[in-house]
């Protein structure tokens, strides 16, 4: 019943998945600091959230520590998966509100550049 790619769950070491998550998180973090367009900054934050989601799912599939018994392993895998679902929901709400704020700022100032948005400074 599962798709063929889902049966690909095999002997890939956990560090490969965690390494991918780390690379994505660091790229997103560098992007947040470097880019000046607020929409792109937002996209970099989404990238970081997805890196963390990948890490949650990796630990769900691999177990948080060795020697879990079967029932505990199933429950911890479910917990990790639920966390991913809630992160997705919160990220969706965050994007809707954040893009609304960017539009409101643009309407106020006719310019979008994170370096110029300093009305709250001092």
């Amino acid at each position: 019943m599962l798709l063929p790619i889902a049966t690909m769950v095999t002997e890939i070491p956990i560090s490969w998945y965690l390494g991918l998550g780390l690379v994505m998180f660091c790229l997103g973090g560098v992007g947040v600091v470097v880019r000046r367009n607020p929409v792109v900054v937002f996209m970099c934050i989404e990238l970081m959230l997805n890196a963390v989601n990948l890490t949650f799912l990796t630990f769900a599939a691999y177990g948080i520590y060795p020697g879990l018994n079967k029932a505990t392993a199933y429950q911890s895998a479910m917990n990790g998966q639920m966390m991913v679902i809630f992160v997705m929901a919160v990220a969706a709400a965050e994007v809707a509100v954040g893009l609304g704020i960017i539009m409101a700022i643009f309407r106020l100032r006719n310019d979008v550049d994170v370096d110029d948005m300093s009305s709250l400074k001092n």
Partner: protein
């Protein structure tokens, strides 16, 4: 090297290319499309982790809905003449790269290196829609309701922010 390892490396390479494109490409529409590539490939990586329900949700919600929202906003701002200024590299670039590398090295040394060659537990069917639904409506029904209220607040808030006059 086994077939699944080659498959994972191909998917991971695509995901990293997408992530790098988001950060490096100047044009916001193109970086949004790179992010779509990254999210789409990430959905397949979730499949390889044995979580098909999350993988499908990832492709539908992230690569579909959220990125459409981003592209709408980019095109709305573009049409009104914002975003003409390109991102010029300045002094922050070097500092950001150094700090990013430092973060990567620290996390690698403290989290990833001690993991060794841990292999998947091979839990059966934890990612099917059935299992996710049962868990969502039994153990996690209270967070589920809280999140639905949060989404409602988000909808109302974004309409309040985006409307000119209420």
């Amino acid at each position: 090297m086994s077939a699944s390892e080659i498959g994972f490396l191909a998917l991971a390479l695509l995901a990293v290319i997408g992530a790098a494109g988001v950060v490096l490409i100047d044009n916001p529409v193109r970086s949004a499309l790179c992010l779509v590539l990254n999210f789409f490939v990430l959905g397949f990586i979730y499949f390889t982790l044995g979580a098909p329900m999350i993988g499908i949700t990832q492709i539908m919600v992230y690569a579909g809905a959220i990125m459409v929202l981003f592209l709408f906003v980019i095109m709305m701002l573009k049409r009104q003449g914002a975003m003409a200024k390109p991102d010029k590299p300045d002094s922050r670039l070097g500092l950001a790269v150094v700090l990013g590398l430092a973060l990567a090295v620290t996390v690698y040394a403290t989290v990833i290196a001690p993991q060794g060659v841990t292999l998947p537990l091979g839990i059966k069917d934890y990612g099917t829609p059935q299992a996710v639904g049962v868990s969502l409506f039994t153990n996690f029904v209270w967070p589920f309701e809280v999140v639905s209220v949060l989404l409602l607040v988000g909808i109302v808030g974004s309409i309040m922010l985006a409307k000119r006059r209420i």
